[in-house]
Symmetry: C2
Subunit: 373 residues, 2 copies
Amino acid sequence: MAVGTQATVKSLDPVDLREIGAPMILGNAYHLHLRPGDELIRDFGGLHSFMGWDGPILTDSGGFQVFSLEGLRTVEESGVEFRSHIDGSKHVFTPESVMQIERNLGADVIMQFDHVIPGQSDEAAARDASERSIRWLARCVAELERLRAGGPPPTTTLPPPAPLPGTTFPLPAPNHPQALFPIVQGGIHPALRRDAARAIQDSGSFSGYGIGGLSVGEAKPDMYNILEIVDAELPRDRPRYLMGVGFPEDLVEGVLRGVDLFDCVAPTRMGRNGTAFTRDGRLNIKRAEFRADRRPIDAECDCACCTRYSRAYVRHLFLADEIHGLRLLSLHNVHFLVSLMRDARASLLRGTFDGWSDAWLQRYHSRTEPAPA
Amino acid sequence: MAVGTQATVKSLDPVDLREIGAPMILGNAYHLHLRPGDELIRDFGGLHSFMGWDGPILTDSGGFQVFSLEGLRTVEESGVEFRSHIDGSKHVFTPESVMQIERNLGADVIMQFDHVIPGQSDEAAARDASERSIRWLARCVAELERLRAGGPPPTTTLPPPAPLPGTTFPLPAPNHPQALFPIVQGGIHPALRRDAARAIQDSGSFSGYGIGGLSVGEAKPDMYNILEIVDAELPRDRPRYLMGVGFPEDLVEGVLRGVDLFDCVAPTRMGRNGTAFTRDGRLNIKRAEFRADRRPIDAECDCACCTRYSRAYVRHLFLADEIHGLRLLSLHNVHFLVSLMRDARASLLRGTFDGWSDAWLQRYHSRTEPAPA
């Protein structure tokens, strides 16, 4: 999923994302509740209509964001009181209020409100947060039932946005169900993760499962270990979503461990900073060695940047502080991850994923920068 | 012309400009000489190839830029010595060196190196600068002859860029002649302008004429008066280019006085600051009244912003500091000016320009902001 926290994938247009083939966009309940307000978005017919994206959308619940507000929030069993990072105003998130916000936003997939803790938390803290998340899941399920009984998610009185080129997804039907994904927590503690995955399945049937609280400071082997444990527990016929991950190599390692769905700010954030993903590792386009380099960022890439522009031109745009440069690298990086997942899927379907992923990781790690021209 | 000073129209892609129907892009010899260097661009086959734009390009000579470097430059008859605004390095521009730079850039139309003075300069200073510009024109003509004899402008060993959608212009032929436009100077002094227009015509035959040194601080009636004087002097079958102008109303007033070609940073600069052009005047999208406004920026506009997004959404993007917002308004504003010129041309061809321009100006000036919804 391309990350569109504030109802836009940074520097890109939905038309770009359709051309890239991005299958889904992620929005964020915390950010959109604060600005422009989920009720405003509801009145515009939901997030699809407001932001002009007619493909699938998932909204994160904001659990990660409110628990990141260290010193600006207090946690109780009922929910979390916090101050806005924008203007310091007071807000309360409960499982119920978050379901109401996500109902207003009208995404196709909505995440439960969960208790997120730092990656290196001890077992007692991790157990407390995981068990609270499971109790909050039951409240989310009940509240969503109540909201569904009260009527459909937002529909629009506006005309639908002009269809994007190559549209393959219709806007959600007026009465689409909004799939609720639970989130497996439990830190880096195998027993807690196993317990959480089982307790969640005991509490209902879900269309997919989030795996939260990883890539938040723990060591990579710990993350891989936890993924393997959770992989063994979750139903094999439902998608698993590894939240907030990641870099190209993390996607390959994640797929290797059963993950289907990812999101991360890395492609656009790194793109804005001048770093491009390539099949030969990362490349910092501002380096002097690219001053007169006629090659595209990645010779095997067919994105709008690599088919039209040289490294020298993109480097010039960055040195001249031109927005076009950061836009081109954002576009390239999102395209790179979408293509990577498409290739991974193709090799899975062919039954050649193990060999493909070995070769891919070896090449990617073999150089951090391509050799000079 | 869309302004692409540093080999990019700020925040837009050539694909956007082709979709908008922008007929031509302006680049700048001063900026491109300093960064990335005109010799680098020559080695990439010229500006068209370097920046991926296969339509016509005009380069300004940098006269305006080097004369703006008050305190950082010294003027002699031979040329101007100045310090770079980027790193303070010393450079010399002469009519000859500027022709060499513009040859390297390889634009279709290149402007002479001229002596530009502030809008309120007295007659003695204006006469001195205008007469020097005419002497420098002769040196530009001679140097361009010499360069043409030495071989063609840059051609590329690179494959041509992927054609833009709806391409109508071929890349310049390998031996395209590069039309040199002289620049009429003379401040706000009618006799000087008349003398300059006549002296320029005495010195050769040109494909088009620049009108410089306007919209640089003088009063609007002075600018209109000078345009009328120059209009009467220049040959009627060659395009006249009013340099650095302007806002929508300036374009209409300019066409009314015989101008064919304009350039200005206004559409992208104002777009980045949240100001949109509309048929009912300018609109500051950040104003609170647009918080829940479902209407497009301009209901009669068919640009990619107005056909897809509400004022409320664009306002949200600006308040959230999202690049997508300033890109959408830049795109809208450039589209607005291109459409305006297209409409002006259509009414000229129908013989209804006077009535059309009266009505257009009256509506545009009647409100500075559209009424709230």
